[in-house]
């Protein structure tokens, strides 16, 4: 198979795994950011906007 030949040539076994690949291989890190991003940008931001709606005069 061509890509295995390629793989053996391009990726010696001791070559470190690139950073982004490590990130994508870490489901718990992904779980953390996948919950933090919508919590901050959607939930917290949204709730703060509602809380700060002024009272009618």
């Amino acid at each position: 198979m061509s890509d295995e030949a390629q793989g053996d040539g391009a990726n010696p076994v001791d070559e470190p795994i690139p950073f982004m690949q490590q990130v994508l291989d870490n489901p718990f890190l992904l779980l953390f950011i996948g919950i933090t991003v919508p919590t901050v940008f959607y939930l917290i931001w949204g709730v703060m906007e509602i809380v700060s709606i002024p009272i009618a005069d």
Partner: protein, 180 residues
């Protein structure tokens, strides 16, 4: 194959095929256009919802709506008992949502600008102005203020399009727009 682990230990360095890169570039440009259309329309478009809103007690909102109706009622809508209110152009106008009516009927002048106050005194309702197809959510205890400029004379209906119980489908109000 997608159901097996990648064949290469390090797949991050695989080169990407040209048409894939081209498509990603096109899609990214399109995404940017989609995004900037919204701020752009705030600058040049004439249909943007205002962010003006207040907390308000339902009875206070009802009082203000009734005060407007007491002052500017011109007739009654058929035999429904609902007043038709013709407020002065350029001023504040109120429409109140409750189970299951939009109150009162408003009569507006074409090409005049009004500050429309919307709120509900009970449940959540949906203000749907037809046949324009302008749709705004109406909440209890919140008052939304939208500046409206009717651009065609005629008879409009306000249909409730947020489910509000068994009489929901009977909740229809009216707005007249007249030439002046």
């Amino acid at each position: 194959m997608a159901i097996f682990p990648p064949a290469q230990r390090i797949w991050w360095k695989e080169p990407i095929e040209r048409s894939e890169i081209l498509w990603i570039t096109i899609a990214l440009v399109w995404s940017l256009i989609l995004f900037f259309m919204m701020p752009y329309w705030h600058l040049v478009g004439e249909q943007n919802l205002s962010n003006e809103a207040y907390r308000i007690k339902p009875d206070v909102f009802a009082e203000r709506t009734e005060a407007m109706a007491d002052k500017y009622t011109v007739r009654e809508e058929g035999d429904t008992g609902t007043p038709v209110v013709h407020p002065p152009a350029g001023g504040d106008i109120y429409m109140l949502a409750r189970l299951w009516e939009w109150w009162p009927v408003l009569e507006l002048e074409k090409d005049q600008t009004y500050r429309l106050h919307l709120s509900s005194v009970d449940w959540v309702h949906g203000f749907s102005l037809l046949p324009e197809n302008i749709n705004i959510q109406v909440h209890p205890e919140y008052e939304m203020v939208i500046t409206v400029t009717p651009n065609r004379a005629g008879e409009y209906s306000v249909v409730c399009n947020e489910f509000c119980g068994i009489g929901h489908h009977t909740m229809v109000g009216k707005i007249y727009v007249v030439d002046k």
